[in-house]
Amino acid sequence: MATKLPKPDELAKIDFTPPETGWMDTPVEIKPGMFCWGAKAKNLRAVEFPNARDWSPAEEDWKLPGEWEGTVLEAMADRLSKYRSFKLFMDICVRCGACADKCHFFIGSGDPKNMPVLRAELMRSVYRKYFTTPGKVLGKLAGARELTYDVLKEWWYYFYQCTECRRCSVFCPYGIDTAEITMMGREFTNLLGLNTDWIAGPVANCYMKGNHLGLEPHTIKSSIEFFLDDIETVTGIKIEPTFNRKGAEILFVTPSGDLFADPGTYTAMGYLMLFHELGLDYTWSTYASEGGNFGYFTSNEMAKRLNSKIYAEAKRLGVKWIIGGECGHMWRVLNQYMDTWNGPADFLEVPKSPITGTVFENAKSTKMVHITEFTADLIKNGKLKLDPSRNDHLKVTYHDSCNTARGMGLLEEPRYVIKSVCNNFYEMPENTIREQTFCCGSGTGLNASENMDLRMKGGFPRANAVKYVRDKHGVNMLANICAIDRATLKASMEYWVPDVTVCGTHELVANALVMKGEKERTQDLRLETLPGKEGN
């Protein structure tokens, strides 16, 4: 991590005593390994975000626009009047501390400013100063402080050390959603051009090309064709999916991470095999080619703009409903915000499985069904021929993605699917799964490489629970239903629990799926030889 080499006299200063000053008087130190690089001007301009410029968080001078304080305070006043939740969350916290030790970043880093209550206090203190009478009059005595350059830097540093996972909210007696405070923090910094490039790049790409990486239609098509070759090698079956096909019954949208990053690619192969086996009338889109929504990590408006593309494409193609792939925040966006932004999607039909006839009432308004709901229903109705023994070399545990677990209550379906396709399944301890699940440590656009120290700290509570089931049951596979999990838990396991591999749930499904006309399976989707098939 690009650190400056300390001088000998600096190295000689050995003092391991933490500062004893109060949090307000302990200025922020922007540490390498803890932050992502600043947003590039070109990526902000592409989506007409204000104050676009190249800047570096490592420099003293962040090249702030003039009157930046006014911009932030005006925006704060605007959001306070627009969002009642924000106003309530600023006012009602009694600092009981129930959330304090629930954040994976606090648990892993030991930095008190990562306690959700204190992270929120970074903003509340400014709110009090400018928007409450006691704060205006009594200042620091009332927990108020001015918005200064240092305070702004502190906001930026810590609001990009929160993955908006909402674990803290589960424990708040008032139901304060600390994630929404982080969202506001990011909206305000975004107004000053202070975003990260790991977020701004994908947002610009998604807006212009339809997916985070900026893959153009022919690239998406050829990428999927590579998977088809591997599927043919493993199963002997030639699959021919369609792209941008008008009149298909179903549009399938998945995070683009599944198309280019292992092990997500194996999950994508799983979708292709499942849909082929069912003979599903569906199409991929090379335009709505991103389930993820990094706009959600910048501003409400941007999230809305990116979300609308999926529905515009569904309309253009004339599909009846949408299946969404294994993704995390895509589902929180869909489940909690889509309907207010762009819904109800009345031009679509209420999703009804053409295979089982099940009507997905829960998706009545958004018209979008999570693939594990779809697959669980297939299995429940006996529509899939499965051979779970093909996964017998795996001892699997399941990581609940924060957004699907806490953001939409999707707890049973993935477990039901995994238990149907694997014979060896072990849960992690109760206080680390389901609604209390620990974040992977790298969500909300924190999955860059330059902030690896931060990611490892944040990933530790999850990894610690994985380590426990590895030691106790010999678990060697960590399944999940989120593209960011698939990418980042891989790194986290490599550091904390090196002998545990990461996979998507539909990779396990496809390995167990007995397909019509398939040859004897001797390899799994990773082209690794299945145990007992070595001689073939």
């Binding site: 933490p18 030790d101 648990i107 590579f226 043919e232 090698t233 120290d453």
Partner: protein
């Protein structure tokens, strides 16, 4: 009484004091949490330190191969290697043990019989520190490896798709197998 007996007797006092000294390297609010939350999944850092120092201390007293302590040291150092410590700050907890033991031995009336053993023990603690330094470096190097691997795995599929990668076939493994032929034909077609 030899040193081993004295230290065995004072085991819980030494471990408590050592644990307290370690958690005091964290900010005050954090130290309270690390000490008080006893659930190992809610407080994995505190639990790992607490369990780790017990194991390290017991192995030290046993006096066997110093390498046996390595996994316990690894658990603690791996955490501190990514927390906000300088390298020396991350590893200072090993040296703290010497101070803790000496303070606990203050009350011993006659130190003469244990002094020789104490010197030997302190020298073993120094060995622990050296071992920790190796582990610390392995952890930091691992972080850089992970960073590099992430970039590689992100770009590999793209290079493959752009037909910029040509796998050299292993001549001993049937280069003309039906599967390989099929894959190569498809890849060429896809690249066109």
């Amino acid at each position: 009484m030899n040193l081993k007996d004295v230290l065995s007797e004072k085991r819980s006092a030494i471990l408590k004091r050592w644990f307290d000294v370690i958690v005091e390297t964290y900010p005050a609010d954090t130290a309270v949490f690390l000490k008080n939350q006893k659930d190992r999944f809610a407080n994995p850092v505190g639990a790992t330190i607490s369990q780790g120092i017990e194991n390290i201390f017991d192995e030290l007293l046993q006096g066997g191969d110093i390498g046996r302590v390595s996994p316990f040291l690894d658990n603690i150092v791996r955490i501190r290697a990514v927390q906000d410590f300088t390298p020396s700050g991350a590893l200072t907890f090993i040296f703290n043990l010497k101070k803790v033991i000496r303070e606990e031995l203050e009350s011993e009336a006659d130190k003469t019989p244990i002094l020789k053993d104490l010197t030997a023990l302190e020298s073993r603690i120094d060995d622990l520190a050296l071992l920790s330094f190796n582990i610390y470096m392995q952890c930091r190097e691992k972080l850089y490896d992970i960073r590099a691997n992430e970039v590689k795995s992100r770009t590999f599929r793209l290079l493959q798709r752009a037909n910029l990668i040509c796998d050299i076939e292993d001549q001993e493994q049937e280069p003309d197998s039906e599967d390989n032929k099929l894959i190569n034909i498809k890849r060429k077609e896809a690249a066109q």
